[in-house]
């Protein structure tokens, strides 16, 4: 397959992709982020790009007007590259921080694009007043005073080694020096001084440590520009799919904790190395990292025993972690670089969530906002600028394809869209990468449930006893099964089906999420109608079909314009904290302000859960659009 060069403007980045790949693939390859709320299936219409030159095959898309099409606008996810091309990526197609921020109703002050950068690690060129007889102050005082004026901080610190060089350096530079500072532990640490003006570039990392996937952004600390984005599966997966199995592995296997720690840091090291190679810089020039992850991931990346996270009453070792030096955890960046883990709230509401709340501005909103991150667990935050409530419901890993007979992650060959004909005999589906089906992923399951319910194959409680006895229904070892794809059409050579236990499992998962939302609302004496915006975060979230999620009763029956996909807010929040002081303060504040609601501690959740174990719900008045 010939390679094609895809150049993206105004970034000026070029990716080499095989003929036949999409522009979205190329953008991903080049590290240019594009909206793909629909997961690249051509429905959300948010990945518009303009083809400036070259040959693409683009199907006529509904979301693109004839005028736009004439001007070269195509959907990046649908446009197939057929030669070397140049495309322009409009700002509106990029999931930029400032767009997400305003999503919360009110941008957190100073975090927007307008506020000046104040990276956690930065270089400042400082002019010192020359000493004189009537000014007895020391070289260090002179330096700190000049820095304070420029930096606005007061509490400076410096190590002895560096201090020993200060008299020489300030004089060598003729009382002008370039100072490298890092904000850590409530003070501004001066970590390097160079005579005169030093222009060496310095870099930072924003990291999302997901249970399943790790994402790294390599950022130029002087400009705030993201130079490369890399993602990969968390290598810890080989020790267990979910946090609980990893905690058990850490506790019960010899060197288990160390292996898990090395696995995740190894994942990051590979990503960092690749990113550095692409950008053409040394990993030693990465001077700081900000990481966001759930509480278990944060424990594991630091090598802190996570034992009590899984045992009632679910007490983490820490939610607010001390910053550590990169060499302490084996992260191959500058060994003395500080690594910050964003603070969490409880064992099941971690730094990924506080990060997301800050990235979206949800914590500063005037209106009531619901932030939902559905992965292995469903973590949710309800609140506004005055109060914040968080909970985690054990959705179970069903939505990530685990614990379901033919479940799989949203990888190539995963059925991500299903439509069941009213006759029930005809099933149409679409797979990731348009490959032969190998299993079903989370969004596929939600489609499945909604379609099967519509088609009348399953009853409201998920039972298969609805009278359909066509060729796709049969009795398996675990009870009735409904075949989505027969062996002849699958990649595995086996039938892909969904069983009654699978359906019940999924219903429990969706019920847990919905009951969590209702429990929070009851806690603060609010109603569904008080929610002005629902932010759907996370990798799974961006594939989620909102309408179908409402139909099965996973998400509240509110108008679709209330919903907004916000993407990976965990890494975006980490990046904001890397670049802006206000964000660092805000994330600390959000972690302190957030009240954690332990769902297993009261009766409300169980009541709500039981009521939600129906499609869409016991109380149909809660789902008027579905009932109708």
């Amino acid at each position: 397959m010939p390679e094609r060069a895809v150049t993206l403007l105004p970034d000026g980045k070029t990716a080499q992709v095989a003929d036949g790949r999409t522009i979205l693939d190329a953008a991903h390859e080049a590290g240019v982020a594009l909206h793909s709320a629909c997961g690249g299936n051509g429905t959300c219409g948010r990945c518009r790009v303009v083809v400036r030159s070259g040959n693409v095959d683009a199907p006529r898309a509904q979301q693109v007007s004839p005028e736009e099409a004439a001007a070269g606008v195509v959907l990046a996810c649908q446009a197939v590259v057929r030669g070397d091309i140049v495309v322009e990526v409009p700002e509106a197609s990029r999931p930029a921080v400032h767009q997400m921020m305003t999503a919360g109703g009110r941008a957190v002050q100073g975090q927007g694009e307008g506020a000046p950068l104040r990276p956690v690690f930065r270089k400042a060129v400082v002019k010192l007043p020359e000493p004189a007889l009537d000014d007895p102050s020391s070289d260090l005082t002179r330096l700190y005073t000049a820095l304070a004026r420029q930096e606005g901080s007061r509490n400076f610190q410096m190590g002895l080694e560096l201090l020993r060089d200060v008299p020489r350096i300030v004089r060598e530079g003729g009382w002008q020096v370039t100072v490298s500072c890092v904000d850590a532990r409530g003070m501004t640490e001066v970590v390097d001084i160079m005579p005169g003006r030093d222009e060496t570039q310095v870099y930072g990392l924003a990291v999302d440590i997901g249970t399943t996937t790790c994402v790294v952004h390599l950022v130029d600390l002087a400009t705030g520009e993201t130079l490369d984005v890399r993602g990969a599966y968390n290598r810890q997966s080989e020790f267990g799919d979910d946090v609980i199995s990893r905690i058990i592995y850490a506790d019960e296997t010899e060197s288990g904790l160390a292996r898990l720690q090395e696995a995740v840091v190894g994942t990051l090291n590979t990503l960092v190395k690749e990113a550095a190679a692409r950008v053409g810089m040394r990993v030693d020039d990465i001077k700081v990292a900000v990481m966001a992850g759930n509480t278990t991931m944060t424990h594991l990346v630091l090598g802190i025993p996570p034992t009590y996270i899984r045992l009632e009453p679910y007490t983490p070792a820490a939610t607010s972690m001390p910053p550590v030096k990169a060499h302490e955890i084996g992260l191959y960046i500058s060994p003395e670089a500080w690594v910050f883990c964003l603070p969490g709230v409880a064992s099941y509401v971690g730094g990924d969530i506080t990060s997301g709340v800050v990235a979206t501005g949800a914590g500063g909103s005037d209106d009531v906002v619901l932030f939902v991150d559905i992965g292995t667990n469903g973590e949710m935050v309800l609140g506004n600028k005055d109060w914040l409530l968080a909970c985690a419901c054990s959705a179970g890993p069903a939505f990530e394809g685990v614990g379901i007979r033919h479940g799989m992650r949203a990888m190539r060959g995963a059925i991500e869209h299903v439509d069941v004909d009213p006759s029930c005999d005809l099933v149409s589906y679409r797979t990731v990468g348009a490959a032969r089906p190998a299993g079903i992923c989370g969004s596929g399951f939600i489609d499945c449930l909604a379609s099967m319910r519509r088609a009348g194959i399953i009853s409201r409680n998920g039972s298969f006893d609805t009278g359909y006895e066509g060729r796709r229904m049969r009795m398996g070892d675990d009870g009735p099964e409904f075949v989505l794809a027969f062996a002849g059409e699958t990649a595995t050579g086996e039938d892909i089906y969904i069983s009654e236990p699978d359906v019940k499992n999924l219903i429990r998962s969706k019920a847990a999420v919905y009951a969590g939302i209702q429990s929070m609302l009851r806690m603060v004496d609010q109603d569904l109608s008080d929610i002005r915006q629902i932010l759907i975060a996370g990798g799974f979230g961006s594939y989620l079909n909102i309408r179908k999620a409402i139909e099965i009763g996973l998400l509240p029956d509110l108008p679709e314009q209330v919903y907004r996909y916000v993407g990976n807010t965990s890494v975006e929040g980490a990046k904001m904290c890397l670049l802006r002081r206000e964000a660092r303060r805000e994330v600390e504040l959000v972690a302190r302000r957030m009240t954690y609601l332990e769902l297993s501690a009261g009766n409300t959740f169980m009541e709500e859960f039981v009521s939600a174990l129906f499609l869409p719900h016991t109380d149909l008045s809660l789902f008027p659009s579905v009932s109708a």
Copy 2:
């Protein structure tokens, strides 16, 4: 010579001394501090002790009433031990911190004996609330919250290594732990945690790094008790007597700075080792050190180049030093122990002075106080709770016996008291240790000048042309000489004399001190009569005869009750900072509040200096008691 056991009550300490030594010697040996403002010559009467049993030879002292004598009261410096004895040391005879403090007119709040100890390193037994479902907070948050309640701090930090053990330790201790904390860099660092109640003793050091002498107090951090006091000459002396010669050595000799650094730390290591051996503890149990020294000594102990301290405009590398770990400077205590150097103000007003100002409470006084520390340099502070002014005058090392033909330190054989008969032919003197004279020390010189002036051997400007031509006067290589002790009576087998250049040298030294005081007064538009108290600090100060110092015009002609000997306030201030948070705050504040007056920068000082180059002064009206 038989050894005698001297037991001191209520301390319960016993020293072995040779028969014939004084009780003061024994107290020193045992590490029990006693007032000795007069330098142990029986005149100040402040070292009263009560003999409870045993045999002593005590001359009838004027300062002890017949009633007291009958009750067993003797002066420790005069009472000679003749058998095993037991003595009681009354509180009034001890140079305790709280006594010095009130000397300033107003005790600095919280530094007094009444305020609770808050050592910079301390152990706290903490009871944590057990976790529960309705309290999701982490082990670390639980620990910090409980600590905050007990400690009153908020900003806690902990290293990763220790954090990894927290979940185990808190559970092992049944939610009770003993936490070791240290206040450093604006936060409270948790450096160790033990399950349950851990009673291991921990120790701290208070250190005075003098150019000439280093003094170490070994302190029990739980009780605040000083367990041992050790002093020794600073081994840097072999590289130069004064700070300037040491700075030159550091600058111009290969590895000069490193050698000086090792010399002073070596001095301290020996003292610490001896103190630990006497107390019977391991040096590793010393968990923190607070050091006070002049700016050059502080640079040298940390290995910071002092180069620009001696070059106009006299800019130190730093006056406020970052805390360092003991291992960074080679101090053999716990390697991870923090070492704090108290902050100074300028190149020639260092942490020893701010320490003294805090120890004496001078910085918190309602009245105007003059703090004088005469050593190689004369460092002086004038002020009260509202303002503080400091200056340093290059007194030259004359008062420490340097640059004077027969000058020596106040060691055994030094002439410390001189009386010249009006006939001028008879000279009586007293030496340290009543040994054969080997030279003259600072206090001896002051006596000398006063006596020679009284006897009419020298004129008011220090010239020897007064007509006396007796056997003690002769012409030497440098001009006329006056013999104090002839070869036959000296330890050296040489005549000990004082020459005209010696006298002129001493007059320049005393004039510099007096001119410094006058310059400060003029700066703040105050008069000698505004000074309510003069605190005489430092080793030399405690040997100083105030009346004689006034007679030669070294110190202002104020009533003797204005004067107060305060001893080694440098080490006392360091000890207060070791033990009390308020003192640490106060010393920072004093360093910031103090305005440094550079005497060489204006004309005032030169005018005052020239006027003071007479005995006692050009303007006799300034010395009414002397003129009369």
